[in-house]
């Protein structure tokens, strides 16, 4: 009997997911990244587990921004683990001047509470945030981030989100100043962070 109820629930969920997939219009899925110089970056407000978070809350710190999603099976964990390892190699004084923000572009599945748990697993100083699809799309455009939901013919999941996997660096004044490439090893992440920390 309960198995039947589960089946019905599963059916409803599948229908809901299918509906979402039909209405989801991915943002510019494939186009070369524009030159970094053309990207305006800038302030934004999203939701963290403890309420709204704005980039300007971190004024005075070098901020690392990463756009991804917690259902990401390998790309996000690879990037975040490398960045977290880099953060751990900083001195306490350096770490006090650095912040890391994980922005989920999959708000359907990633609640702020889930994001908090996820981000803190990698580093206690990592903040997890998300927002409405419109808000995220607008921020992504300003930062040159691309993401697109793709149905994948895998028995285990409904969709994956292809996404750009660089880590964006925002300086103490809130200006987008650079990127750390995906799969940069931790010791080079440290060098990159120090480069921006030591900029006047």
């Amino acid at each position: 009997m309960s198995e039947r109820i589960l089946l019905v629930i599963a059916g409803l969920l599948a229908a809901a997911v299918l509906g979402l997939a039909l209405f989801w219009q991915p943002e510019l899925p494939e186009r070369p990244l524009p030159a970094a110089a053309a990207l305006s970056g800038g302030d934004f407000t999203l939701q963290a587990a403890n309420g709204p978070f704005s980039l300007h809350d971190l004024r005075g710190k070098v901020v690392l921004l990463y756009f991804g999603y917690t259902y990401c099976p390998d790309i996000c964990p690879t990037s975040l683990a490398a960045t977290a390892e880099g953060l751990k190699q900083l001195t306490p004084a350096e770490l006090a001047k650095v912040a890391m923000v994980f922005i989920s572009v999959d708000p359907e599945r990633d609640t702020p509470a889930r994001l908090k748990e996820y981000a803190e697993f990698f580093h206690s100083a990592m903040l997890g945030v998300t927002g409405t699809p419109e808000n995220l799309a607008e921020i992504a455009r300003r930062y040159g981030v691309f993401y697109a939901r793709q149905p994948v013919a895998t028995a285990g999941g409904d969709y994956v989100v292809d996404h750009s996997a660089d880590t964006y660096v925002v300086d103490a004044a809130g200006k987008l100043v650079g990127k750390i490439a995906h799969a940069t090893p931790p010791d080079q992440v440290v060098l990159a962070i120090r480069k921006y920390l030591n900029q006047p």
């Binding site: 390998d74 790309i75 748990e117 996820y118 028995a155 285990g156 994956v160």
Partner: protein, 153 residues
């Protein structure tokens, strides 16, 4: 039952005569990546070596911890990372296949119970000649020493 053991005997016999792919294969530093709470999909990584003089294809993997096991790779297309299933992973004769974060890997999809650090996941690799190999992969937070830097020497 009798039929099954006969079949097994036949398989073992033919394996002995033909030298099954699995006999040429050794696996180094296998591990499963520990992921944050609530994440039900993770990756298994390892170095697969082929001591034989014929190329071998890994065509499937299985494990009891997840509902689905797939072979995957990463594609970097114009800076956009894509993760897609692959039909096979080739291990060249006298060569090796590197399964590591950011590249080829075995995906454990839809875990039945959350994995804890130090858990051991038995994984069965299946090769293109039908032979298979079992290994134990420990759940680790980060790659074991040398598994990542293996490329460089």
């Amino acid at each position: 039952m009798k039929k099954l053991s006969l079949l097994t005997a036949c398989l073992m016999f033919s394996a002995g005569v033909l030298a099954a792919a699995a006999d040429q294969i050794s696996v180094d530093k296998p591990y499963v990546r520990l992921l944050p709470p609530g994440v039900q999909t993770t990756g298994a990584f390892m170095v697969i070596r082929n001591a034989g003089d014929k190329d071998v294809k890994l065509v499937k993997a299985d494990n009891p911890a997840s509902r689905v096991t797939e072979l995957h790779t990463h594609l970097n297309e114009g800076g956009i990372m894509k993760m897609r299933p692959v039909a096979a992973i080739e291990i060249k004769a006298k060569g090796e296949a590197l399964l590591q974060p950011g590249g080829l890997h075995i995906m454990l999809i839809d875990l039945k119970v959350p994995l804890k650090e130090g858990d051991v996941v038995p994984i069965t690799l299946g090769f293109d000649d039908g032979s298979s190999k079992k290994l134990d992969a420990k759940v680790l937070r980060a790659a074991p020493e040398a598994a990542m830097s293996h490329h460089h020497h």
